[in-house]
Subunit: 216 residues, 4 copies
C-alpha cells in the first residue's frame, strides 16, 4: 500500500501537478503573445484565453486576476535575464562576452519580441509598485552579477581599475534597454549599431586607449 498525501485517505481524483504546470505555461505563452501584440492593458482575458486555447474560466483557475497573470509573466521573464551574465562569464574576454550577449539580446528575432515586452514591463513598473519591486529585485541581481564580472576583468587588467563596477553595470544594462527601445519604432538597431554598442562599452571601460572600430 503506497503512502499518499497524509491529509485525505479517501482520495478522489488525484491532483496532477505536472499537468497543472504545463497548463500554466500554456496560458503564460498565450498571454505573452497577446501582451506583445497589444500591451498589458489592451489585451483582454478573452483574447489571451483564445490564444492559449483554454476557456476564460480556466485561466482564472490558474491566475486569480489579470494582474497576477501579468506579474507571473514578468517574473518568469526577468529571472531568465540572469542567464545573460553566464554568457559573458563563459566567454574568454569581456569584449567577446559582450558581443555574444548583444547578439542575443538585440539580434535574435525571438528575443526581439521579448525585448518589446520589456518596454511594457518598465511602463507598468512605473505605475504598479508591486511590479516595480519585482523589476527592482531582478535588476539588483543582474547588476550584482554583471558588477562582479566587471571586477573580475578589472583584476585581469582588461577593464580600467578606477571604474565603479556597479555603476558601470547599471549603465551597460541601461544601454541595452535603450537599444531595445529603438527596436520598438523600427530604428536601425541592426548589425551595424549593435557592433557599435559593443565598441562603445569597451571603449568606455577599457584600461588602455583602444582604437575605435572602423565601423563605429
Amino acid at each position: 500500500m503506497p503512502s499518499r498525501s497524509p491529509k485525505s485517505s479517501t482520495l478522489g481524483r488525484p491532483a496532477n501537478p505536472e499537468a497543472r504546470a504545463m497548463r500554466r505555461e500554456q496560458i503564460l505563452r498565450g498571454a505573452r503573445a497577446c501582451f506583445r501584440r497589444k500591451g498589458f492593458h489592451a489585451a483582454s482575458t478573452a483574447e489571451i484565453s483564445a490564444e492559449a486555447g483554454v476557456s476564460v474560466a480556466n485561466l482564472y483557475q490558474y491566475f486569480p486576476t489579470k494582474d497576477h497573470l501579468i506579474k507571473a509573466l514578468i517574473e518568469e521573464d526577468l529571472t531568465s535575464d540572469l542567464d545573460l551574465v553566464g554568457m559573458v562569464e563563459a566567454a574568454g574576454s569581456f569584449r567577446r562576452g559582450l558581443e555574444m550577449t548583444t547578439q542575443l539580446v538585440l539580434a535574435d528575432p525571438a528575443m526581439t519580441d521579448d525585448g518589446l515586452l520589456r518596454l511594457e514591463v518598465l511602463a507598468e513598473a512605473s505605475r504598479n509598485p508591486e511590479i516595480a519591486a519585482v523589476v527592482r529585485e531582478a535588476d539588483d541581481h543582474l547588476v550584482a552579477a554583471l558588477g562582479a564580472l566587471i571586477v573580475r576583468y578589472q583584476n585581469s587588467g582588461e577593464i580600467h581599475p578606477e571604474i565603479n563596477a556597479a555603476d558601470a553595470a547599471r549603465l551597460i544594462v541601461s544601454l541595452y534597454d535603450g537599444l531595445i527601445g529603438r527596436l520598438a519604432f523600427g530604428a536601425a538597431a541592426e548589425t551595424e549599431l549593435v557592433a557599435a554598442a559593443d565598441s562603445f562599452i569597451v571603449r568606455a571601460l577599457a584600461a588602455v586607449r583602444a582604437v575605435p572600430d572602423p565601423d563605429m
Copy 2:
C-alpha cells in the same frame, strides 16, 4: 433672412483660432497628466476630460479619436526633444553640454514624469505603425542634430575622429532612454549614476585617454 455677419469676410469660419488653440493645449495638458498616471490605454476619455476641465464631447471636437489625441500628444512631446541639442550646442565643451542635458533629462522632477511617458510612447510605437513613424522621424532629427554636434567636436579635437558620429548619437540617445527606464522602477538613477553616465559617454568618445572620474 439676415445677410452674412459683416464682421468676417472670410466666409464661413467664424471661430476664433486662438481660443481653439488654447483649448487644444488645455486638453493636451490634461491628457498628458492622465497618460503619465495610467498609460495610454488605461486612461479613459472621461478622466482626461475631467482633468482638462472640459466635457467629453468637447474633447471630441478637437480630436476625432482617442488615438488622434495620443498621436498629437506624442508629436508635441517629441518636437520638444530637439531643444536638448541646443543645450549641448550652447555649452562651451561637449562634456559640459552633456552634464547640462543629463541633469535636465534625468534629474529635473518635471522632466522625470515626461520621461516615464517616453516608455509608453516607445511601447505604443512597437504596435502602432503610425506612431512608430512619428517617433522615427523625431529620432532622425535628434540623431542628425546630435551627430552634427559630435562632428563639430571631432573637428575641435574633443571627440575621437574615427568614431561614427551617427552611431554615437544613437548610442547616447539609447543610454538616456535606458536610464529613463530605470526611473520607472525606482532604481537609483539619482545624482551618482547620472554623473557616471556623463563620464561613461565622454570616455567612450574621448579623443585621448581620460582618467576615470573618482565617482565612477
Copy 3:
C-alpha cells in the same frame, strides 16, 4: 439678458432636471418590476434596463451601482408607507381606519406586488447594514405615527388606556408584514383572513370586551 447658472456663462446644452427625474423614475419602475419577479440578486442590470426601455450604460448614469439602485428603490417604497397612517387618521374610528388600511395593503392587487417586494427588502436588510438603516428609519417613523394615533384613540376611550402604544404599533406592523408573507406562498390571505385580522387587532386593543366577529 436672463441671469443663469452662476458658474458658466458659456453655456452648452442646458441641464434638464425634470427630464432627468423622469428618466430616474422610469428606471426605478423597470427595476421594481424586475425585482418583484426575480428578487434583488437574480434580476440583472440588463433585464432592468430592457424593462425600463433604456440602455444599460444609461442606467449607470443615474445609479452608480446596482446597490445604489436597490437602495433608492427601497427608500422610495418606504417613504410611501407613511401614507397609510393618514388613512387611519382620516377615518372616523380606529376600527374603520384599520379596515381601510388592511384593504389597501393586502387586497389591492397593485399593492400586493409591492408587498412581495417587502420580503426582499427585509431579507436584504438582514445582510446589508446600509439597507437596514434605511428600513429602521422608515420603521421608526411609521411606528411613531401609528403610536400617536393609538394614543389619540386611547384618549377617546376606543383603545384600552393601559396598553403601551409604541409596542402596539410595532405589533400591528408586524402582523401586516406577516400577512404579506402569506401572500408570498399563495395562502388564503383573502377577504376572510383580512377581516379576521382587523377583529384580531381591535379585540387585542379594545377598551371594553368586544364580541368577536361572526366571521372570525
Copy 4:
C-alpha cells in the same frame, strides 16, 4: 467476468446509505450557513461546498441542482416548525405555551438566524411555485395543529368560543413571521416586545376581558 459481489444480494446498490445520509446533512448544514449569510441567490455552490468541507462535484452527487438543494433545505426547515406546536401543547395553559414558543422563536439566538432564513424562504416562494407548494403544505400542517390546539382551549374556556380557530392560528403565525421580519433590520424585537406580543395574542383571543400587561 466476475460474478456479482457476494456481499449484497440486493442487486447493484453497494453504497452505504447511512454514510450517504450523513454527507447529505453535512452539505445541508454548510448550505444553511451560507444561505443565511448571503441569501439563496448570492450564495455560490463553491462557497457552500467549501463551508461544508466537500468538493463542488461531490455536492452535485447529492443534489442534482442548486435549486434542488434549496428546496431540500427548505423542506427540512419547515418540518421542524411543527415541533413548536408540541410546546404549546405540553404547557399547561395557552398563555404559558405561547410564552415558551415566543421565547424560542424570537429570543434564542440560534433560532434567530433560522428566522432570517425564513424571509428568504417566503421571498423565494413568491417566485418559485414549487417552493410555494412546499411552504403551503407546511403551513397547512402548522395551522391545522395550532387550530386544533385553539379548539382545545376554547373547550377549556381559556379562549373565546366564537373565534374562528383556523383564522386565529393563521394570524398568530403571521404575527410571528412579522416579528421575525423585525429581527432582519435590527429593530427592537427584544424581550420587551416579545412579552407584549404574548399579551397581544392572549387579549385578542381571551374568553374574558383581561387586564393589559403593565409592560404592554
